[in-house]
């Protein structure tokens, strides 16, 4: 509809313009012709007198040119010689020069629009030259007609185009709307259909699908979270229950106290697991990027190495810190990275202490910063590394020490938060677990 209206408006403007110009054109042509003719006859009269003029008038009145008018009018304005009948209308009067006027030519009673040129002659007579504006008028009428046809056509075309476009747009929009409705109804697997047209709708569809993919991933993780939570908290809760039971049946106050302490410890451990899970979920939502700040990653590594060194010594291993490369200023979350690195160190202490040497390292190479731990323990076989990083994926079901099963998972989420990755590799022998983080400012959150 809009297209139709627009077409109409442009056409009207066009017509108006053309009309105005053609009118002008034909009008000035008429004027020129009449004036020219008038001057010619005037010259004839001045050079040859009345007789010559009458002859010239006869020549002018050519049956091939029915619009031409030439005459001598008497003092009263009546036709004396020639073919012009002219009665001045209200407001018009006889006077020298050109004016548009209504005249009738001899042989026709109807007055026509014409250009009239009057010139004074001796004894009050007038030399009149005229031309009926037939040509210009006809041309104008023709133009008007064709333009009207033009309007009608463009209106039709406009409406047709409008309908076609509206249908196309409507179709695409409706398709997207349908997918959205289905997703709203719960079917997250829906995607907007693509038809490879490469236009803006295609782009929109791709974007929406990408967004749906991300939502799907997050929803999936949430589902997995609640599933594994329900599953994996059963054992600790079971142990808790058993300890409480035992406390009730305890023989002495001392024994009871022991059980109660144990219960307290288990509760703390459970709290830690829960908090870690929340931490993972929160980290994966990238909300913590708001707390990013610049800090020295190398000193973080050194500090954590120093913190864990005594514990390593007690476990019979030597823990050292290694730094290679330069330029360790990182824009990130110091606390979370400390947590991640601490998880990796604890993992090494739990599983790799047999190798006697644990190295915490920070390495800068090119655009990447590696923050990690190397041990000489049994390592992780390549085909089980992914499993190790998954939630609650423990390679040995040894006793949980407060969320140890989630340590690598959280470390990986924290790596993702920094646009990086947790990499497990073979230290030949042993395991290298490191956070590979890009350091060129990609970790900034906009």
């Amino acid at each position: 509809m809009l297209a139709g209206l627009l077409a109409l408006a442009t056409n009207l403007a066009l017509i108006g313009f053309i009309q105005w110009r053609t009118y002008d054109e034909s009008e000035s042509t008429l004027r020129r012709q009449v004036t020219q003719q008038a001057h010619v006859l005037a010259d004839v009269f001045h050079s040859g007198g009345r007789d010559a003029l009458e002859d010239a008038i006869d020549d002018t009145l050519d049956p091939d040119d029915p619009q031409a008018g030439a005459a001598i009018l008497d003092r009263g304005g009546h036709l004396d010689y020639g073919n012009i009948n002219y009665v001045p209308g209200p407001g018009e009067s006889f006077g020298q020069g050109y004016r548009p006027a209504l005249i009738s030519l001899q042989g026709s009673a109807t007055p026509h629009e014409a250009g009239l040129y009057l010139q004074r002659m001796p004894h009050g007579a007038w030399l009149a030259n005229a031309r009926i504006a037939g040509e210009g008028l006809a041309l104008r009428n023709t133009l008007q007609r064709s333009l009207l046809v033009g309007i009608a056509l463009s209106l039709l075309l406009g409406i047709a185009c409008g309908l076609v476009v509206a249908r196309y747009v409507g179709q695409r929009v409706r398709a997207i709307g349908e997918v959205a409705a289905r997703i709203g109804g719960g079917d997250l697997d829906q995607r907007v259909p693509l038809n490879r047209s490469g236009d803006a709708f295609e782009g929109l569809a791709l974007q929406i699908n990408a967004m749906l993919d991300r939502i799907g991933t997050l929803m999936g993780e949430l589902r997995m979270l609640t599933d594994t939570l329900a599953h994996d908290l059963r054992s600790p809760l079971g142990r808790l229950r058993a300890a409480a039971d035992a406390a009730i049946g305890a023989d002495s106050a001392e024994e009871r106290d022991q059980f109660l302490s144990n219960i307290l410890q288990q509760c703390d451990s459970l709290m830690r697991i829960l908090t870690t899970i929340l931490e993972i979920a929160r980290t994966e939502s990238f909300a913590s990027r708001k707390q990013f700040a610049s800090f020295d990653a190398a000193s973080l590594g050194a500090e954590l190495a120093e913190m864990y060194e005594p514990l390593a010594e007690e476990a019979g291993a030597r823990l050292t810190f290694e730094q290679s490369g330069s330029g360790f200023a990182l824009n990130g979350h110091r606390q979370l990275l400390a947590q991640a690195l601490s998880n990796l160190i604890e993992n090494a202490l739990n599983h790799g202490r047999a190798g006697k040497q644990i190295t915490v390292f920070t390495k800068r190479s090119g655009d990447y910063l590696s923050l990690g731990v190397r041990d000489r323990g049994p390592g992780v076989p390549a085909d089980r590394r992914e499993q190790a990083c998954q939630r609650f994926g423990r390679l040995d079901s040894s006793r949980t020490s407060g969320g140890a099963g989630l340590g690598l998972t959280l470390a990986r989420s924290i790596a993702h938060l920094h646009a990086g990755e947790l990499v497990l590799d073979d230290a030949k022998p042993g395991l290298i677990a490191s956070l590979e983080l890009p350091i060129t400012g990609e970790a900034t959150f906009d």
């Binding site: 302490s261 307290l264 509760c267 709290m271 830690r272 829960l274 908090t275 929340l278 931490e279 929160r282 909300a287 913590s288 707390q291 500090e303 120093e306 913190m307 864990y308 005594p310 514990l311 010594e313 007690e314 979350h333 606390q335 979370l336 400390a338 947590q339 601490s342 604890e346 202490l349 020490s401 407060g402 969320g403 140890a404 340590g407």
Partner: protein, 227 residues
């Protein structure tokens, strides 16, 4: 030494737990159940400590603190919250609160932190002598040198920082989390007893060859430096 403590907590169970426990310790407690009331009561600056829950009706805990600080009220504030992630803790500490304790908490932990906060507002050193003296232990913060009796004790930098923190909180319980936060500036929860090992190393250096123990373990809570 009884203190005036304001508790802003809308959860009945937590509130009664706190009120009872702190009253038993000899403190005088006032309890309100929403943030607006809390802000109103706290604004005269007459309390030694404010314990505020983060989630409160009418005005949340963090906003109460921000309003107090804007009004130049310097009363120490301890925030209690079930929001336990690292990000939540950092958020909780911005805006002017002095400490952040995650629920569920042990009362011993709460008490230890409360005492540390009292101490902070007490400790305006008026004496020109910067040395810290606990029993026969003498610490000079300027030179970072430590003597016990007539013997000089050699400590690694971190061990010194640990000792100084203990000494500034001498006679009061210091929990593992407090140590992790104040001596290492880390706000996550290590699953292992990594702090314990540092403390036992320090203890060995302080007590080897001396009769009197100085660094005690307080069961269920943490440690304390005293005779």
């Amino acid at each position: 030494m009884g203190r005036k403590i304001l508790i802003i907590e809308d959860d009945r169970e937590t509130a009664s737990y706190l009120v009872r426990g702190l009253t038993e310790e000899g403190h005088s407690i006032e309890h309100v159940t929403d943030g607006q009331d809390g802000l109103f009561r706290a604004s005269d600056g007459s309390f030694d400590l404010i314990i505020a829950d983060r989630m409160l009706p009418k005005l949340d805990g963090l906003s109460v603190v921000r309003a107090l600080r804007a009004a130049k009220v310097a009363t120490p504030v301890l925030i209690l919250s079930a929001l336990a992630t690292v990000g939540d803790r950092i958020e909780g500490l911005e805006g002017g609160s002095d400490d952040y304790l995650v629920k569920p908490f042990s009362f011993a932990e709460l008490l230890a932190r409360a005492h540390a906060l009292f101490r902070r507002s007490d400790a305006r050193p008026t004496t020109a002598d910067p040395r810290i003296i606990v029993e026969d232990l003498e610490i000079d913060p300027l030179s970072r040198s430590v003597r016990r009796g007539d013997r000089k004790i050699e400590l690694k930098p971190r061990e010194y920082l640990l000792l100084e923190y203990f000494a500034r909180n001498a006679g009061k319980v210091v929990t593992r989390t407090m140590l992790l936060e104040q001596v290492w500036d880390y706000h996550f929860d290590p699953g292992t007893n990594v702090i314990d090992v540092h403390v036992s190393r320090l203890r060995r250096k302080l007590e080897e060859g001396f009769d009197q123990p100085l660094l005690r373990t307080v069961r269920g809570a943490g440690y304390m430096l005293s005779a």
